[in-house]
């Protein structure tokens, strides 16, 4: 145990890298979720088909395969990404495909009458989504997005395989240098668990806050 404590600086560094990777890919994933998810409602067939191809491609292949593809194959095609960037893009694009389905499902779950009301009020498409559909759909998305965020955190561990020095990578370093096995892996599992639990807490807080705000607006409306 003492031996592992000597390595606490690199564990802290690994924790920071893992959190950075999670936050950065979460932002990428969130943007992709909305862009791809809302593209599914486009009036242009080409846009809808492109969104479906994106979805099936990233949901149908394994995240680790995508990561290795970006890390090893893209440089051969002339696209050079740093390991961290490849990790962020792979994690973000992968989770974005799952997220896009959440966005699509949530928007579809808004009652049909709301769509019709927006059309009846002569809202533009932008206004319809901005003022009618999304405010009702976003609270529905939050819990599932919370689950996806945990999946994303876990996915970042895979990035250690493309030489990103995150927590899992650091645990491997400790294992190789000290020949200890139980301690490094147990410690990083606890760290992952703590980070995940914090994320769960944050998402719950946001969900509560949004639902609270919604109740107030409903009361005002009445």
């Amino acid at each position: 145990m003492d031996q592992v404590l000597e390595y606490s600086p690199i564990l802290i560094q690994g924790t920071i890298t893992t959190i950075e990777l999670t936050v950065a890919s979460a932002i990428v994933a969130l943007i992709i979720s909305f862009v791809v998810g809302l593209s599914r409602f486009s009036r242009f067939a080409a846009v809808r088909i492109a969104a479906i191809i994106y979805l099936e491609f990233f949901r149908g292949t394994s995240a680790i395969v995508q990561m290795f593809f970006m890390f090893y194959v893209l440089p051969l095609l002339g696209v050079h990404l740093s390991p961290l960037l490849a990790g962020i893009i792979a994690c973000g694009f992968n989770l974005g495909s799952y997220g896009s389905e959440v966005v699509r499902g949530a928007v579809q779950s808004v009652p049909r009458a709301q769509h019709e009301a927006a059309v009846a009020l002569n809202y533009t498409t932008y206004q319809k989504y901005r003022y009618v559909l999304l405010p009702q759909a976003i609270p529905v998305m939050i819990p599932t997005f919370g689950n996806l965020l945990i999946e994303l955190l876990k996915l970042t561990a895979v990035a250690s395989l493309i030489t990103i020095s995150d927590l899992t990578f650091m645990a491997q370093i400790i294992r190789v240098q000290t020949a200890l096995t139980l301690e490094p892996f147990l410690i990083i599992m606890v760290i992952y668990f703590i980070i995940a639990s914090c994320l769960v807490g944050i998402v719950d807080f946001i969900a509560k806050k949004i639902n609270k705000g919604r109740n107030i607006t409903v009361r005002k409306g009445i």
């Binding site: 394994s62 290795f68 593809f69 194959v73 395989l161 892996f185 599992m189 668990f193």
Partner: protein
């Protein structure tokens, strides 16, 4: 970067051998996940708070930590504790254990969705707890569980490349070994992606079809 069919010809036999391992790991892992998941779901509904809470937090711990780290844990730590497993066995155990915490939620939701009256009826017929589960609850609970369980089968299939990290030569690792020794990344990595797409996209549509099928059946019930 030119696509080289000779490379495809060379790597394909090894990849097909890897595919067999992938399929083996997926199905045995899934079987383990289903059996363990059902056990976890039943234990979680135990009347004893100690049992149900400890099952809850154990599942949460497994669910909030990365599968990759759990695989490392099984692969590196178990031999130190005197348990020697082949890499494939450790991988299957890891997959099964990790996903049993997900399938247990499916089982629990399925069981809880059986109307309360069914429990009461079995009680009034003086059924034992085993008989209630075996003859009344599970036959009604299982059909709606099939689509989500099928989805987890697909998810597990996509997670099998992680087993390459603990030296299992499955589909992805077979390609990766070839890539590293011949320094040809484009063809093997692309092929892996194509293999995954070929299997998982049709299966995903099949799962969607199952979902529709069982939805219709349940909505016909009063």
């Amino acid at each position: 970067m030119e696509w080289n069919w000779q490379v495809v010809h060379d790597v394909l036999p090894q990849m097909l051998q890897g595919l067999v391992i992938t399929i083996e790991a997926t199905f045995i892992g899934a079987l383990l996940a289903y059996v363990l998941g059902l056990a976890l779901a039943i234990l979680r509904m135990s009347k004893s708070r100690v049992i149900s809470l400890s099952i809850y937090w154990t599942s949460e711990f497994i669910r909030r930590t990365p599968l990759l780290v759990q695989l490392y844990f099984l692969f590196y730590v178990l031999p130190d504790l005197g348990v020697f497993l082949s890499p494939l066995a450790a991988g299957i155990l890891g997959l099964g254990l990790h996903f049993s915490t997900y399938t247990s939620e499916v089982f629990r939701a399925g069981i809880e969705n059986v109307p309360q009256g069914q429990w009461e009826a079995s009680k009034s017929l003086n059924y034992s707890r085993y008989q209630t589960m075996r003859y009344v609850i599970l036959p009604q609970a299982i059909p709606p569980m099939i689509p989500p369980l099928a989805n987890y089968l697909i998810t597990m299939f996509k997670e099998t490349p992680l087993l390459s990290a603990i030296t299992v030569v499955e589909l992805f690792n077979a390609a990766n070994i070839y890539s590293n020794s011949h320094y040809k990344y484009l063809e093997p990595m692309t092929l892996v992606g194509v293999f995954f797409l070929i299997v998982s996209v049709p299966s995903a549509y099949f799962a969607m079809w199952l979902e529709k099928k069982y939805q219709r059946r349940s909505s016909r019930m009063p």
